[in-house]
Subunit: 303 residues, 4 copies
């Protein structure tokens, strides 16, 4: 398998209520992103609220999205779990549905040591029916996948890449230094504010939440960075930062980003903004601030 | 419902392998603890490795233990989950099996705000078929249940107590000050090193992992503290600290405590020491150190 | 030297302005605490805003307080610094002024390892003209003095005790277990909410900020705990918790405790409430809340 | 004043012993860096061990380096302190010696709130005789200077820039977005692993510790990034990463970076590797690893 390169949106999970998918929203959102030129989709990540959803709904969502995508782009599925066996079970479902890879952050309740992470990921990769992407997400799982750990794991034949959401660029540069030359191991950056510079410096792409809203913008950033067109990168960066500082920062929640993305998608007429517990969607005042932010970005709101 | 008072061991989950219970060990461990005089059992907590187990096994374990206990003591079941609906589903199963209450730490992936915690726990308690005990576990879930949050939630008719595993006694004293006088709200302390002083100061009991090993010791401590027998409390405290500093500190793992308890139970001939991923049981050298620690405590090892 | 036992208030530093002591307030506060029966004084600790003061003022303050105390109780001086040589220099001044011991938290800029802490404290104790008390203050210095480190350091002939402000009672119980029986090594607890239970369990006293305000209350708690009078301990505990939850929690500052103590002292007519940068004293609204809290405690406000 | 642009090494402080400068080493190191083309010098930063030094030595060091530089490049002086008045006093000395600006991280003992930081930095900038650069250093001072705080402070006429050592590029991109266009406000990045991409994206330069060792390398990186020469940036980046992963990571210390830089300078014959407490210089085995790392970089060792 050659690496996926480019923009891989971590798809939000459109919901109508507890344990109920927004089916039409899901369909519209998939087409919206594919029309924007994204290179793959990533389901059931942090942005997808995976941990808040029932297993039943997670399985349904994977099946429906894979069926709709129908091979037009590769689909990756998040199988992050605290139970290794549940991760494997979901991966087997994803394989049956046609996904091409799975993504797993560290088990996130009892914080493991680096040695325990190596044993865990090795056991997981041994049992998975699909290639595994590591997912470094220290703010949520409390531990870094340290560079030495990643180097060791990168030698496993079924571990094929890493997504880093730490925003710590010294860390990511260390990974690029050690692994950036390997054609069989992909390095993706999570925070969209960093996609430009990361691709310039050798990363393979971005798993950027904003690509749910504006897929063509992040694809354009990826293309400009691949071409080393710095003027264009910096021009696009200003727009990405406008989104980041106006859509993702309403309210004082750790979850402001997630609430903002779903609210904006609702205002754009793409899908419902229902959020699973423990999160709640924005109320009128905060929704108005998102509306104003979208209008300042030149987006017509219909919701 | 009047509060449960006393020692409530957070029962370890005896395993033979991935997704396989140690059935005989489970049976022996239940009888060992009941023979030691414990006042209730708590299944599927942190010590029970709940998050690492498949749902299937969790359901089976609750059913088997409830059947064996057969009402001799009350059984509480941990339903901590990142998905509210999965918590409710497990609680419904626990209710059917005969458990009398459930325990839930905060959702532990995306860290919620205090306001989100209030909404989350309120929604959860509204839907649960059994009374709910809050579980403060900041080292694992990244947030404290702040005293003001607990005070608010304590007014919910279906929220009946709190277990604190923070080891932060300023926090726990604040809860005792605000809620210690309420007969319908229980306060339990997690770390066994603190059971003596907490009960002296007004707590209702201890959810102490060491009571898997030496149930009578923790029951004796509870009794001594209830009687304000300081000399006896300090004598028992020395033994509890000997256990804590010799059994729970082998190796440099965050999980040393869990590995140590399971290893000691295995050496005592009670149950297998298999650990679910990402944890692994102690190897020979560490096992020998646990053996020496048990012998220093006057325990005969059979394993 | 036998250990100091009892209540050792960490004295606030009364200020009139930047780099200007409130001399009359200093004098009144010393007499207020001595009249309340405290067993020693601790100058230039966290509560004393030591790090915010110029060296000039720190030296002046030590000299003035020592002169006024004139041997009526022992005086300890905080020499916590990031520069070992500056700590030694201040200790030499303290010795000349008549202080009987010094107190030092870990250097607090670049976080040291445990091995570095052992080398640092050994070098410091070797050079100090007075006995040294260790000060565990992880929230401010970012590292714990781990029990193994403390055990090693406790063998140094010039290291004679430890004050713990972590509020982590598992930690403190571990120290009591290892060192509580040594007559030549004192263990004091910082948070006043814990003095009762700590003395009951074997600690030598409390370094409690509230003893600036109500010295006799904390002395009474110490006495009751020494006598194992649990009923009295719990009665006094309620009053200590009332102070803690009403005086130290106004505003959402990390420094609410310090602002509250100084504001209350000002309202009680004892000294000025000027705070050194980066802190500022409470304004009218917050001051009114402190006034109400004091009145609820039965204190007549004159300020 | 127009902004300084380029590479501003945070100069290490060459020491011979406690409270004793290595005068010849200081002189050699200054000339080594100036010969390498650096654009300014920054004294008494984190890399300069400022907090570990006596005030006496800090004052002497500023005076000697300023005298030797003699205006060939601008000199900035770190005045980070927990006491505002001590910061002002050192800044007055720096101004007399000919420094052109000062740098201050937040007071680092009691963690201030954002509002307290605004009041603190405003008071500080009001009193300083030289322009002030903010210094974001959350790992050491426990708080971020949040973007909104920086935006507010950037309007103060005497606050002229910020150095960010967080390595959090989402944070730094947010500052570039808000302040990157202001000609009168400079943005520098601390970690040298990020200088290339930061300058590409609009930063004004790097305050890079490695420029003590290899000043011309970091100057070359700055130049290549200014010219948007991506091929050259990535080539230089490999060498910078080789330094970072071999010189700064020996041992498991938080201070490995500092020990490594001083050890390498000693091996290169530039200055002594004495470290002030609580740090100690590398012993033979670690020194050998640094020697091998230098040789792998093609550096001839003389020490």
């Amino acid at each position: 398998m050659t690496c996926i390169k480019g923009i891989i949106p971590p798809m939000i999970t459109p919901l109508k209520g507890d344990d109920e998918l927004d089916l039409e929203g899901t369909s519209r959102l998939v087409e919206h992103m594919l029309a924007g030129g994204v290179h793959a989709l990533f389901l059931l990540g942090t942005t997808g609220e995976a941990q808040s959803l029932t297993y039943r709904l997670r399985y349904e969502f994977v099946e429906r999205v894979c069926r709709q995508v129908a091979g037009r782009v590769p689909v990756l599925v998040g199988v992050t779990d605290t139970s290794l066996d549940e991760s494997v079970r979901l991966a087997e479902h994803a394989a049956k549905c046609g996904a091409v890879g799975v993504v797993a952050a560290a088990p996130y309740y009892f914080a493991p040591s680096q040695q325990e992470l190596i044993e865990y990921y090795t056991a997981l990769a041994d049992r998975l029916p699909l290639p595994l992407y590591l997912y470094n997400m220290p703010s949520h799982v409390k531990v870094f996948l340290e560079p030495a750990t990643v180097k060791t794991l990168a030698d496993h034949p079924n571990i094929v890449g890493l997504k880093d959401s730490s925003a710590n660029m010294t860390y990511f540069q260390t990974l690029i230094y050690h692994l950036g030359d390997r054609a069989d191991f992909a390095l993706y950056v999570g925070p969209e504010e960093l996609t430009g510079e990361c691709v310039l410096m050798g990363a393979d792409g971005g798993v950027n939440g904003g690509a749910n809203l504006f897929p063509e913008l992040y694809v354009a950033m990826y293309d400009a960075a691949c071409k080393h067109d710095i003027a264009r990168v910096r021009e696009l960066q200003r727009r990405i930062m406008q989104i980041s500082t106006s859509i993702y920062t309403v309210g004082k929640y750790g979850s402001s980003y997630l609430k903002g993305v779903k609210c904006a998608l609702s205002l754009m007429g793409i899908c419902d903004d229902y959020l699973s517990y423990p999160y709640r969607k924005f109320r009128a005042e905060e929704r108005n601030r998102i509306r104003q932010a979208l209008e300042a970005l030149g987006v017509e709101c219909v919701g």
